[in-house]
Symmetry: C2
Subunit: 410 residues, 2 copies
């Protein structure tokens, strides 16, 4: 029998920073690219804007003509025309002249600023009053002010946000080169597991992990691939792992990672060529029985069979790895967090990183209160009742009521 | 010409809390339900677990037989069998007896607790030593401890998370009744706008808003429906709005919400029966020119044509509305936030809610530093450079360098 060589959560995070396989590229329409990861830098082929534009409704003028203007001593300018939207500015602005222009309109030749409508008065069809001076360049965006031709507008490794896609559209790029989605196999194991559709016999339970992990993978930007249930038989497990390694980018085995009598996972994984035991047990609560095996440039996770532990280990260790596997570069952690006041004290075993499930309620002062969810930590209902998790570091013995904590939302 | 009756951000948020249309229901497989919203409560048809199980590897015992046991004075128990995974526990535990059991195994009749393997020693094939006492119920989950038959396991209005789906699978529910996705029309307007695929003529610009808003809608849990560009012609706009109202659940018109010479949006919207002007201008920066028109139980948003403003107004006002339209009930705000130290002071006009774009960098102390992105606020490049937004409330004049701020990540 193999024994646990338990590592700290920090040691495991460091181990998982190993290089990941580089996924193939694919060209995708902007409309299908939201939330996907760029495989190649996007370079602007043109300036944005391509011509000087105004950002207000008003009058294009020569700024010098407005110097010294005030409500009591307005500048009088001759209105010589109007810029039509979507048309080249046909009229030039000479000294003492103004041209009517709407937001986004092309600045006419001769003009170097725009006076907002609010700071003007119309005298008649050919004359306006300007009540405030404008500086040269005021309310004007020059060609290339936003983006310059040749500039990298989004880098390889960026997970594309609405504004990134918008900029691509703005410079005429309608397809982007992305990393294909990482395929993640989920392999449920255990003689006691049956499909959710089946009626379990006495001693059997329905498979919770596959659907839950597939949802978590999807939310983390992977393409889940659920495998059939593998019963506790080393040959069948070896065959299934072989298929998963040949067809997917990452394998999560659920169950079979503890030291129980029938847990073959570790033995089977280590029987593969290039297999390298990276982790066998993590000092966390819940979730201790975790296996990570390197297989060349890939890794296989053996997650606890308990669904609470499996989901927490996924969030803490698999998700950051999957993020890198998807091609995403380092950046601000994409965790959804709210700050809350801990409603009750919580004691924790030192020596383990502890994931406290909390329910949130809105306090009288408008702040969130975090209530630790009591009850046996192995029950999936604790995860359903909870809104998120508070991480208690391994060197901390607990949290005091009234402490401000960061709650990582599910 | 219609004038702005500018409302505060808070007033607009309150106005948008009006009832939303209730979307139709559809039945969906668990594997397609992640992130979707429940339309009906899910009630557990059975207990979970259905039988008493152990949560550790060890020996099923009668707790009373272990009372007083210690390493120096162990309790000796006769090993009378083993529980096979996925099988009913065939052997009963009598006084002075123990049965080997693995995590998840069914507790045999007669036993009321499980001693962990670590606290036992094997004497021979028929005798074990127990080195610590266990209490009745220890390391055992009884039938119904996790979920009771008849219990509501997830309520109407919940956006389904991995654990919610897992619990459904665990109790044998493989399809759930969801609200269909809200269809959101995006209608770009303006004589100056051309498709991203087209080469703009002088004075024309490519449409940035449609692809950016469609991505934002998708991320917010809606089904985007991009409409063709509508030029500045009230009849064509009226026709397009008519189609959108007949076919979608929410209409976002991009452009045409300011008081420019050719902005027909408000006039056209108010020409519909039941139209009710809710908002015409919000005291925010950027994004002031926003129209919200009620149409019976629906609303139409007129967003600023400037893409920066359009995206910020979407995040601040449309997204929370869309969340409710999707059927989601109130809960912790689903914003992804990180706490950061403001790297530079930022001055803000009082009287407006101000959305400061910030770039994040990791400081020497491991904390995030938030750097306000300088430059003209109308440039989309400021949104691309930024990682998120800091909201400066309308009654605050600015932020001091060194202040701790919440950054809402894009």
């Amino acid at each position: 029998m193999l024994f646990f060589h338990v590592k700290s959560a920090g040691e495991v995070r460091t181990l998982l920073e190993r290089p990941v396989p580089v996924l193939a590229e694919e060209s995708v329409s902007l409309f299908a690219a939201a939330g996907r990861v760029l495989a190649r830098d996007v370079v602007a082929p043109i300036d944005l804007p391509e011509f000087p534009r105004t950002v207000v409704d008003g009058y294009a003028v020569r700024a010098a003509d407005t110097f010294g203007a005030s409500a009591s001593l307005p500048a009088y300018l001759n209105l010589v025309g109007e810029v039509a939207m979507g048309q080249p500015a046909a009229v030039a602005v000479g000294p003492g002249e103004a041209v009517r222009i709407a937001t986004g309109g092309m600045l006419p030749a001769g003009a170097d600023a725009v006076v907002m409508l609010e700071y003007t008065d119309v005298v008649d069809r050919q004359l306006i009053e300007v009540l405030r001076p404008v500086a040269p360049g005021e309310s004007v965006v020059r060609a290339g002010d936003d983006i310059r031709a040749g500039e990298v507008i989004a880098r390889r490794g960026r997970r594309l946000r609405p504004q990134d896609l918008g900029v691509c559209a703005g410079v005429g790029i309608t397809e982007v080169t992305l990393f294909r989605l990482p395929l993640v196999a989920v392999m449920p194991t255990g003689d006691e597991i049956v499909l959710p559709e089946q009626t379990p016999q006495s001693g059997q339970v329905r498979d919770i992990n596959t659907v839950a992990l597939c949802a978590a993978i999807q939310q983390a930007g992977g393409q889940p691939w659920p495998f059939p249930i593998v019963h506790d038989d080393p040959d069948r497990l070896r065959d299934a792992v072989h298929v998963a390694l040949a067809t997917t980018d990452l394998l999560l085995i659920a169950g079979g990672s503890s030291v129980g009598t029938r847990d073959w996972t570790l033995e089977v994984l280590l029987s593969f060529p290039n297999a390298e035991l990276l982790v066998h047990g993590i000092a966390i609560r819940p979730g201790k029985p975790v296996i990570v095996v390197g297989m060349g440039e890939r890794v296989v996770f053996g997650l606890p069979g308990n669904p609470v532990s499996a989901l927490i280990v996924f969030e803490q260790f698999v998700r950051p790895y999957l993020r890198r596997l998807a091609g995403e570069s380092e950046g601000p952690a994409a965790t959804r967090t709210v700050r809350a006041v801990l409603a009750e004290s919580y004691g924790s075993d030192p020596g383990k990183e502890d994931y406290v499930r909390v329910r949130l309620s809105r306090g009288n002062d408008g702040r969130w209160a975090a209530h630790p969810v009591l009850g046996k930590s192995t029950l999936i209902s604790t995860m359903v009742e909870a809104d998120g998790i508070v991480v208690v570091p391994e060197n901390v013995e607990g949290l005091e009521a009234g402490e401000v904590v960061d709650v990582r939302l599910f």
